[in-house]
């Protein structure tokens, strides 16, 4: 980027510079504007794609109302949104220590799925034989171990052989899927590979089925915030993330920090797997995590790896998801439409961060500056 600004060189139409001063208030203004702009574009897309809307443009109000209705229409929907937010948040939280270390863990999907498998395996073999007070803690333990091991394997290779962690963790997702398929064949000899809901091992209902999950997510958020910002471990993670050489210079054992942090990351994914397996499904399919391990990467990035911010980003994604599903229901349109809507919204929300971080300089403005 050390472009030569002599008049002989033809300048690009646009060039970028990193913003140095941008008040947080203005930044939030830009984010809000992006959200509104996104909603307007969604409305336009909806006109193009939904026949019912073309026939009766007055229903555009229903279209926007669906975003609210999807998550706040009934108390059940509200609880469901909070629960979904919590599960997604837990996975994003699990990723955060690794991400802060610049260890690009793309394997949360598999680590969480292995957590579900650990919990359900214990449930399958010991459900009904052990009292629930023993069964459920063992399910939790198994989930954390399974998730932890799945996170530790790529970290071992990274620390020992400096393998590429992004590809390695990504590959481990597929391996996890096949491990689950393998157990389903053993557990369901009829060949349907569909394990019916197990009768035991359900996380107790406190207030309702979701409250405990939400509470755990909240405690985890606070705990991780403190761990990352106020503990020695958290500091070491930041140093390794900033510069491996600095870390080595000040005497931090980099392999140790990588292993410890990925173990933690995997264990927290495993914990989330337990929440899915014991708290919700009491069964497992290869789709039990349903891509949330990947969505969580976005949640963590959008939340700037700040656990408190991630509550907001996770909530935003869930509200969009449930709103978009509500639109598909209310207008009876194809299941692809929600993806289009969520995609457009995220395009604007993520895109606006670019304009917050960088400033555009157009050619004319630039030449004026040059004259000055």
């Amino acid at each position: 980027m050390t472009a030569n600004h002599t008049p002989q060189v033809r300048e690009p139409l646009v060039h970028l510079s990193r913003r140095t001063e941008f008040s947080p208030l203005r930044a939030w203004g830009v984010r809000l504007a992006a959200l509104v702009l996104g909603l307007i574009v969604c409305g336009l897309a909806a006109f193009l794609l939904i026949e019912k809307l073309q026939q009766n443009p007055g229903r555009i109000g229903d279209f926007y109302y669906a975003f609210i209705k999807g998550s706040f229409g009934t108390s059940r929907k509200l609880w469901k949104m909070l629960k979904n937010l919590s599960i997604l948040l837990c996975i994003a939280l699990a990723l955060t220590p690794a991400f802060r270390m610049r260890f690009w863990n793309t394997g949360a999907e598999g680590q969480t799925l292995m957590g579900v498998l650990g919990a359900i395996a214990v449930d399958f073999y010991f459900g009904g034989k052990w009292p629930e007070a023993l069964l459920i803690p063992v399910m939790l333990l198994a989930a954390i171990i399974f998730g932890g091991v799945w996170g530790l394997i790529p970290a071992l290779f990274k620390a020992r052989f400096n393998t590429n962690e992004t590809l390695f963790t990504l590959m481990m997702n597929y391996v996890a899927t096949f491990v689950v398929s393998y157990f389903l064949v053993i557990w369901v000899p009829s060949g349907s590979s569909s394990l019916a809901k197990l009768k035991y091992g359900k996380l107790p209902s406190v207030v309702n089925d979701y409250f405990l999950i939400i509470l755990i997510a909240l405690l985890l958020t606070i705990g991780l915030y403190i761990y990352l910002n106020y503990s020695k471990h958290g500091y070491e993670i930041s140093v390794v993330g900033e510069s491996v050489r600095t870390a080595q210079y000040v005497g931090i054992s980099v392999p140790k920090v990588i292993l410890r942090t990925m173990l933690l990351s995997g264990m927290l994914c495993g914990l989330t797997g337990f929440l899915i397996g014991s708290g919700l499904d009491q069964t497992i399919t290869t789709e039990s995590v349903g891509g949330q391990g990947f969505t969580a990467i976005m949640v963590a990035w959008m939340g700037n790896f700040n656990p408190l911010m991630m509550i907001l980003t996770s909530g935003l994604i869930q509200i969009l998801n449930q709103g978009a599903a509500q639109i598909s229901q209310d207008f009876n349109v194809s299941g692809a439409l929600p993806d289009v809507i969520v995609g457009i919204m995220l395009f604007f929300v993520i895109g606006c961060e670019f304009f917050i971080n960088y400033q555009l300089h157009f050619r004319r403005a630039q030449s004026k500056e040059a004259v000055r």
Binding site: S192, T283, E287, G335
Partner: protein, 402 residues
Amino acid sequence: MKKIAAALLALVLCLGCLTSLAAEPVAKENIKLGVILLHDEFSTYDLNFINGVNEAKEALGLSDEQVVIIRNIPESNECYETALDLVDEGCNIIFADSFGHESFLLQAAKEHPEVEFAHATGTTAHTENLPNFHNAFASIYEGRYLAGVAAGMKLNEIKEAGKLKGETPLMGYVGAFTYAEVMSGYTSFYLGAKSVCPDVQMKVQFTGSWYDEKEEKAAAEALIALGCDLISQHADSMGAPTACENAGIPNVSYNGSTLESCPNTFIVSSRINWAPYFEYMINQKMAGEAIDIDWTGTIATGSVVLTDVNEQAAAAGTAEAIEAVKAEFAAGTRHVFDTAAENFITVGGAPLTSYMADVDTDAAFTPDTEAVADGYFHESEYRSAPYFDVRIDGIELLNQMF
């Protein structure tokens, strides 16, 4: 005071139970049907349900607001949540279309005895025995058999023209999983063909997925390369039909006509029409009658249907032959899994005289019901979902996928 309150509460609860048990007729304008789908219209399986719902809606004159369709619901707790959302919306019949939805729908059914819950392809309603939880399927094996007759006649035509690839006619079949529903399907298809072409053999290749266009196409191509003269399939994409059209190999399709994309090779297709079941449930509800706990649609109810025969690809007289066999089914003079006929169904060279099928689902999947009696295997009689999973002679499984 507390005691009185408790007694009152108990009384109210009892009354609530009583009124829900005594089925009252529901006026047509108060009917509301909720449908939970695993995927959306891009899967031929789910599309078939959407078409069925729309056909029933039109036939009964229901309004748009009376049918709620929810797409892309996985086989997890989300199915239960969605069912409860539909209860909140005021649905009085809630239907789910995928096998794995069953235990989650059952959970909702136990909590809401005032709402009817129905489930396609499921296996546990007849043992759970809840008045508001229902399974449904169709005797699609009869449709497969009829399609098999068309296949057998085509093979005879190829044989007479001296254009067989091998010495004896060979069919290929692309299946999803090594599971009773698929096994019942390909065996009845094979038997239909064998009924007109006695020396036919079949090879089956499984893909391990209900919808994987690439895999299904590759499986069909592999079967063609192995010398198959005709291909059929039980999987939900256009993979196998496309491979057949490209190679000029006749194809007997499933889930609906593929004539448009495969004009030269499409012979006929069988499918389940779900409209009669939706109409049946709604009519029972309007009449205040109970819905069957386990319902099997048949050719007679209009649930098992065949598309028109493509005269361009099929052997001459196929449509007439199919009609004749259909009449024999109706009269009860012909059975698909006929164990009495000589050299028809054999296992290891010996005739099939007894088979314990796994009809009542339990954790260990133990066989529990004798299915062979009166000279035939009684498929879909003890429960609607297929349970024929015998491996008979003449059919070679190239792989297994669970």
